[in-house]
């Protein structure tokens, strides 16, 4: 047992050391607030940055845990793969051109500028962004804590603290440069790990068909393509798909990545690179989780306490310690690569959107970078404190964050970029408020009062769209007819 733990620790520590050193070394690229917040990233780096940001703790242990618990029905959960496509096509080029033309740094910058310098829209966007980013940050720290507690026997609080400290160190130092360069390494780690554990699982169970047959032997419901009972009945799955298809790509951590591309021509091949790169890392662990379900029945591993623990348990008990160490490094890579982007996006809210724009417009670049680093540190600590007592399982945290993003930012951003005649300042503000209030209320009801037969954020999404378009049409400035000669 000690030798096993030693092997796992060695690999994990090597990963932590390499990531931290590389991330901190990027500090030399940061001389201004612009460098820290968006930078100008080359093609391969921005591609890996987008995929790694999309690929979170939820993608590794949350999504595969659902396959462990509910079986093949959760292969329908493909919005993250299509989300990569939407980020790079629907939002990508148009938003990139706009922000570069007007020298914008943050998403609230875009809202303020688009609506004629409205400070109110900036503040509203800051509130929405803060809520959606902090909820997701908590989910990432929770996933890090689960992985380290389970596989390394480290106390949960220490695990969360360690993960936070390393991520904060390189994010504070290098800003988006530190985040993007480490994301590149992190993507290589988790893609290689996903391929490795998939191949080993298929070899163990004799291929996909054999695995499906063994699952059917355990419980026919595990291979049922349509689950019959809530919370994951077919109407729920469909509405869930609709909500997160817009929610995931419009989440601030994704939209803000678009700002960082150095050249517009990258958007030509980014959709292809993102969808292919993400599919490998996302789909393969889902098959591995099905193997975990069979392994539990065969007595090869103990029953995990929750579905989130299924994949880590399986790898720990049924794979070589070197693979288990590699998997743990990949899990940290997935969580840290999402958490660091969230920290860049949320820290910039305080420095750019509140300090520079509302408190001290004359602050020099050195001071701005300093306060952005302080803000990143404070946000990391706030999320750490919440993560020490996580309010629920990881999927719920992630879906709440992305559901809220869809019915607020998703609705308004799509209209702002593609149907400007259907959105005014009053309409956009109403949509943000309605989406946030209805989404939070129904999300709370569906989780803590009674499960709903559909995704709780769907009514919020629909009401946000209707409110935005109706109010915008009512408040659209009238065209004054020219007086006749």
């Amino acid at each position: 047992m000690e030798e096993k733990l030693l092997t796992i620790w060695s690999i994990v520590i090597a990963y932590f050391v390499i990531t931290t050193i590389v991330g901190v070394l990027t500090k030399r690229y940061v001389t201004s607030l612009r460098d820290w917040v968006i930078g100008a990233l080359p093609g391969p780096i921005i591609a890996a940055h987008i995929i790694a940001t999309l690929y979170s703790g939820m993608s590794v242990i949350g999504a595969s845990g659902l396959n462990y618990q509910y079986g093949v029905v959760f292969f329908g959960e493909l919005w993250p793969v299509l989300g990569a496509l939407i980020v790079a096509t629907v939002f990508g080029p148009k938003l990139w051109r706009y922000v570069r033309k007007h020298n914008l740094l943050t998403i609230p910058d875009f809202y303020e500028h688009y609506f004629g310098g409205s400070k109110f829209m900036r503040v509203l966007a800051v509130i929405v962004l803060f809520i959606t980013t902090v909820i997701l940050l908590v989910a990432q720290w929770t996933a890090v804590g689960i992985g380290m507690t389970l596989l390394l026997g480290v106390p949960y609080w220490l695990a969360v603290l360690l993960g936070t400290a390393i991520t904060v160190a390189y994010t504070v130092a290098g800003g988006v440069w530190g985040v993007a360069v480490t994301d590149f390494i992190q993507y290589l780690v988790f893609a290689t790990c996903a391929i490795t554990i998939f191949v080993i699982t298929m070899m163990q169970f004799g291929g996909i068909d054999s695995l499906i047959n063994q699952l059917r032997g355990i419980n026919p419901a595990l291979v049922a393509p349509i689950a019959g009972t809530p919370p994951f009945s077919w109407p729920y799955i469909l509405t869930h798909f609709a909500v997160l298809l817009i929610g995931l790509p419009s989440h601030p951590r994704m939209v803000h990545r678009i700002y960082s591309a150095k050249r517009e021509e990258y958007f030509k091949w980014l959709p292809l690179a993102c969808i292919a790169g993400y599919a490998i890392a996302f789909l393969l662990p889902k098959y591995v989780a099905l193997g975990a379900r069979v392994a539990v029945t065969q007595g090869a591993m103990p029953t995990p306490p929750t579905s989130d623990w299924a994949l880590p348990y399986y790898v720990y008990y049924c794979f070589h310690p070197a693979i288990a160490g590699f998997f743990l490094a990949a899990l940290f890579a997935a969580c840290m690569s999402t958490a660091d982007s969230l920290m860049v996006t949320s820290a910039s809210l305080f420095t750019r959107d509140i300090y520079q724009k509302l408190i001290n417009p004359l602050a020099d670049e050195k001071r701005l970078v300093f306060w952005t680093r302080v803000a990143a540190l404070i946000i990391g600590i706030i999320a750490l404190i919440i993560a020490l007592n996580p309010p629920a399982i990881i999927p719920w945290l992630v879906w709440t964050s992305e559901g809220l993003a869809g019915c607020t930012l998703g609705v308004t951003l799509v209209l702002m970029l593609h149907a400007p005649r259907l959105i005014t300042k009053v309409g956009a503000a109403s949509a943000l408020i309605v989406g946030l209030v209805v989404g939070l209320s129904l999300g709370y009801y569906g989780r803590f009062v009674a499960p709903l037969p559909f995704n709780p954020f769907l009514p919020a999404l629909i009401s946000s769209i209707v409110v935005c378009i109706v109010i915008s049409l009512l408040t659209r400035p009238k065209v004054v007819p020219r007086p006749s000669q």
Binding site: I208, I226, K268
Partner: protein
Amino acid sequence: MSLEEVLILGMPLWAFVLIVIGLLISIIWFFKFKPEEG
């Protein structure tokens, strides 16, 4: 083979079908997209 059996066996595969559709859209986008920058 019944429709249900086809669905059961096909479920893990339709993920790939959807990804192939996504890849096709990306390839079309690759050939159609024209950057505006100089």
